[in-house]
Structures are given as structure tokens and as C-alpha cells.
Symmetry: C2
């Protein structure tokens, strides 16, 4: 089996780690025990994911002292109260400094369990086992952990690099269709901001991607992780260049927040946000209409929503202003200035912005 495993290293000096991707990783006892050498383990998962993979993991890690904490699924669980419950569990099992917290699930579990690992004993080892496409290409790479505050998403958190990331491709085949598609938004984002070759490659493989061909999936995950790892290596704590990973997110977060009851999945909101960011890039004359349409076309081919909800500009500005990326009162936008290239703009003319906010790709 081992020849089908791909891996890359994220180079961060003493905090460097490897991302492993491939089928069957969560079943392979000897391989898994090598990557998780810890004696005492707290595994955090949710009620959707735990029934699918917890048993096989417990079997594979049978020699270790494995404790598990299963919480309800969903973004609403990323609270200070849940964090406190994980800390309570850590205390109860006496998780030591050289223990590890595993996160079995999507981005919510990874963010929450990662933040618990960042803060228990001022930092214990953290190994995400991402089970969604979004988490495999995005949430598990970069060391961002967080919980939500009633006033906004991810407002409380820490940078805490994982010890390793174990992305089993098999977990993607059982993903609900809508969630899988939403993950593709982040895949496209990586290609758009940093890799024109990946963009071509994706355009040529729309069918395989929609069919979730395992080989194509593993290649895609590793390609995206390589891009993100490179950007993160250059800028570990998000002072500069790393901001380009937020392409589509300033608009996207506003869309997500406006849809209060979770109508929009994160990836869906990012897709519609990227459409607006592309239009902004075009109006700033950084790209032409053809390039904008090409990316929107790829998103449509992969059945991603590209149409943001109608909102008055004041509401947009209010929702975007709540975003963490606001610096000194100015909203920061990520725009693209060519295939595989993105830059930060924090002084966008309000009139231009208003026009963008009223633009629709279908008109």
C-alpha cells in the first residue's frame, strides 16, 4: 500500500511537519502507529464522522491509550464552552505535555481541537485527520486554529502547527455531494492565486473530479497542500503574502454571515466571493474579462454557486467590516493580477466597490 501514499514537507524550521495523503491511511496499523508514536491520545470527532471511522482507528491504534470525545456536528460547536469541555477531558485523562490531540473530521473539528491542543499545557502535539475535501486542502494546513465569538467567526484562536497531517483519501468518497463540491472552491482558489498549471490541469479533469476519481483526488489534495505550504512557509503568522490565501474570503465571509442559518457552506460562499473578487480585479484592470469568465466557467462546470445574494452596499460593508482582515478601518481585498498570481489591495475606491457589489455574472 505504502507506494500509493504521497507526502510533502511543510518547512517551518523546528516546527516542520509532513502532510500524508492517500487511500487507506486510517486502516494501516503499523504505518499509523509510526506517525502517532504518543502513549496517550485524545481524539476529538463529531457525531457524523465518528460512526464512520472511529472503530477502525481504535483498532489500528489499539496499543495506545486512546480516549475519544464526540461532539455534535456543525460550526455552532466552535465555542469557548466546548473548548472548556475538551480541556476538562484533557484534565480527566491527565493528558501530559507529550500527549497528542487528534482531530477526526472537517474544519470545525480541526479548528476546535487544534485550539485545544494549542492551549492545553501551552501547546501539546496536534495531528489532524481531515475527512472533508475542504479540511484536507485547507483547514489542516497552515497552523490556524480558532473558535467563534458571538460577534464573528474565528475571532479567538492561535497559530499552532500540527505535528503531522494524515489525509486519508478514502474518507472523501463518502462525503455528501454538496460538501464535496464546496471543497472544490478552495481547490480552484489555490490554482487561481498561485498555480496556472494546476488551473489547466483542473480544467482538463472536470469529469474525473466530479466522479471523485481517487488518483485525481490524491493529486489534487497534494497539489493544493504544496501551494498552501509554500505560501505559509514564506509567512507563518500571516503578516504579508499569506493574505492571498484569503482570495474570495472577504466577500465570502460576508455572504456566510448574512446567511444566518448556514444556508451557505463556507466553500460555496467563497466561490460566490471569488466571482466578485474576479470582477473587482477586472475593474481594477488587473485581468481581462476573458480570464474572469474562464474561472467563473470552471466554477460553474464544477456546479459551484457563483451568484452572491442581493444585499444593499451598506450591509455588505458592515458585514465585511466585521472581518478580522480589517486594518485601521480599511477593508483589505485580495485581487488577481494574472493566471496564478494574486496581490493585496487595501485602498479600493468606494465607487468601484459599490459597482462590484451590484454586479452579477449572469447578466
Amino acid at each position: 500500500m505504502s507506494e500509493s501514499i504521497r507526502d510533502i514537507e511543510v518547512s517551518l524550521g523546528p516546527r516542520s511537519y509532513r502532510i500524508h495523503s492517500g487511500p487507506g491511511l486510517l486502516r494501516d496499523e503499523s504505518w499509523l502507529c509510526e506517525r502517532i508514536p504518543h502513549r496517550r491520545i485524545l481524539l476529538v470527532s463529531d457525531e457524523n464522522v465518528a460512526p464512520l471511522y472511529l472503530d477502525r482507528l481504535q483498532a489500528a491504534l489499539g496499543e495506545r491509550e486512546l480516549h475519544s470525545q464526540v461532539i455534535p456536528a456543525g460550526e455552532a460547536e466552535k465555542t469557548l464552552a466546548r473548548l472548556g469541555e475538551i480541556h476538562d477531558h484533557c484534565a480527566q485523562i491527565g493528558l501530559p505535555r507529550d500527549g497528542v490531540i487528534l482531530a477526526l473530521g472537517g474544519g470545525v473539528i480541526s479548528d476546535l481541537a487544534g485550539f485545544a491542543a494549542a492551549t492545553w499545557h501551552r501547546g501539546v502535539d496536534f495531528i489532524p485527520l481531515p475527512t472533508t475535501l475542504l479540511a484536507q486542502v485547507d483547514a489542516a494546513v497552515g497552523g490556524k486554529t480558532a473558535i467563534n465569538h458571538p460577534s464573528g467567526k474565528n475571532l479567538i484562536g492561535a497559530f499552532h502547527q500540527p505535528r503531522a497531517v494524515i489525509a486519508d483519501s478514502d474518507t472523501l468518497t463518502s462525503l455528501p455531494e454538496r460538501e464535496y463540491r464546496a471543497g472544490l472552491a478552495e481547490v480552484i482558489k489555490h490554482a487561481v492565486i498561485a498555480d496556472p498549471h494546476l488551473l489547466h490541469w483542473l480544467e482538463a479533469r472536470v469529469r474525473q473530479i466530479k466522479e471523485r476519481d481517487p488518483g485525481t483526488l490524491a493529486d489534487t489534495v497534494i497539489a493544493c497542500c504544496r501551494i498552501k505550504a509554500k505560501i505559509v512557509s514564506e509567512d507563518e503568522t500571516e503578516q504579508g503574502r499569506r493574505a492571498i490565501l484569503n482570495f474570495g474570503h472577504t466577500f465570502g465571509h460576508a455572504i456566510e454571515t448574512a446567511g444566518k442559518h448556514g444556508e451557505w457552506l463556507h466553500g460555496e460562499a467563497v466561490a460566490a466571493g471569488m466571482a466578485l473578487a474576479l470582477e473587482l480585479s477586472r475593474r481594477l484592470e488587473l485581468i481581462d474579462e476573458d480570464y474572469r469568465n474562464r474561472i467563473i466557467g470552471l466554477m460553474k462546470a464544477l456546479e459551484l454557486p457563483v451568484e452572491a445574494p442581493r444585499m444593499p452596499p451598506e450591509q455588505w460593508l458592515d458585514l465585511m467590516g466585521r472581518d478580522k482582515k480589517v486594518s485601521a478601518g480599511r477593508i483589505r481585498f485580495i485581487v488577481v493580477d494574472g493566471p496564478g498570481s494574486a496581490v493585496v489591495r487595501d485602498a479600493v475606491d468606494p465607487a468601484t466597490l459599490h459597482e462590484v457589489l451590484q454586479w452579477s455574472p449572469s447578466r
Copy 2:
């Protein structure tokens, strides 16, 4: 005034910062505004300290948007609930990524506000304004922030380096006698583990120290910060050498925890803990009886308690085992092996340890 300010740099690459010490720093408007250039500020303090210095700070920083949060004093406030309240306040005033949290008070305020700064927006600037000797020589240096868990002290936290430390010597003259003396335990600790010259210097200045001579105080604070800064620079996240800063603390934490109602101040417990750690060092034949007695003599001259409470060995082991410094089930001790030199020992013979736990400096 500026010629009386001393400062040193803590070298941590991009996270380097300066510690400033001297009289009148919290009154000096132009000097203060240069060190705290932030537009929006959240100041956290407690009910004992705020009445003494908050007004002068508000006057000195009058041009800025300064919000303050005053909480009850005491270790019992280092909870997840209080942390949540500080986050709520950050949200309410919209503290941005480029905002700052100031901690005006002792170690409790510094630990709690520092942890809030470490986690709000995944890290905003943090500037402690320590007002106790303990906080000036210890809590404000090293980047450790934390809250308590019902099962133990400082179990939840993060490493977050301050942007600067502003230690106004004037604040030490109004400190209650007992709290001042407790701070001297950390001063002695620094000398014992790392600086034989400071040890001589302290022995020659017992009178000036007891009289709180301002010049002696400022020199002492800077000498200790220099020692701690050097050790921390070599080992930012406490993987190795930094552990020697815990000299006296393994025993000391047990003493603190056993005295449930706060009978022992941290520094007092550390003093009695150092006496035991010195006896352990002697039994391991790393130092002789004369050196042990010399240090205990200095502590007595400064009126520090050197006598640990009587407890059965099992209770000691239980209380020490709860400490974070436990690795793979073995308790780690810091011992001294000569004037100004300390090492880590994690395999102490149980019989030797039992003898040490029953030893008393007065017999």
C-alpha cells in the same frame, strides 16, 4: 528623567522586544506614547491596582482610545469565564488586529490579559505594565500566558511574547510588605541558578533591599530580567534549558496547591521549595552543606519562609505529579550544581526524594 531609565533587549528574532525599568514611567506622557503607539487600547487591571495608577495612565495616554476592564484581584480570577469576558470586551470595542492589550497589575493580570492577547484575532500586541516585584522580574518576561483549570494551575495557556514590558519602579514602593518579600524569592532564584555575581551583590545589599532603595530595586529588576531574557532567548518554548527557571517550583507548586486557601503566596512557596531543592542537590552531592546553608541564610535574612509544611510523602508526590512538568510519568527536578549553575534531573531515586521531603532546615 530619561537618563534614569534602564532597558535591555530580549532577542527573539522577529519577536524581540525591550524591557524598560525605572521610576515614573507610567507618568511620562511622551515617553509612554512612543512605546504604546496603538490607536485602540484595552487595559486590563484589578480592583487593588487600578485605583492607584489607572488615572495617571489615562491622563498620559489621553490621545488614544483607551478602554479599561477592572476585575477582582486574585488567582481565582484566572478562569476561562474571565477570559471570555475579556474577549467580549474586545469584541464590544472592536479591538482590531493592530490593537493592543495592556496588563496593569501583577502576575495574575499579566497571565490572564496576556492569554487574551495571545488568542484575540490569533494574537494582538501585548504590553505588560507590571506593578509587583514578582511580575517585574518574572511574570512579565518569557512570553508565558495562562489561566487555571480546576485541576491545576496554568494548565491552559499560550506562549505569546510581549511587544514591550514597562516596569515602573515607583509601583514597588507601595507594595504590601509580604508581597514584596515574596517577590524577592524569584530574585534569589535567578541569582542561584545563573549568576554568582548577583548572589554576592544581593548578600552585600540586604539592608538596601529591605528598605526598597529605588536604585537597588531598578538594578535588581534589570539584573533578573537580563538573566531570564538570556535563558528564554536560548529556549523560547521551554524544550530544554529554560526549565532551570523552575528551580524551587516543583516543590513550590505542591506547597501552593496544598495550601488551598492561598495561605502561601507564590514566592513564599518557591522559597520553601528552593530550600528543599537545595537539600536535594546536596544529597545528590552536587553542592555541599555550606552552599546550601548560605542560600537558605540569604532567604532568612530577607525574611522569606524556608520551612515547607509537613505532609506525607504520598501527598507530596500526588501534588507534584499534577504539575505540568511531569514527563512520561517521571517528576522533573531542577537542582543546583554550584554557585550560579543549575541542571535538570528527571530520575531521582525515590528513597532520596522521601528523605528530602522530610528534611527541615531548622533541625
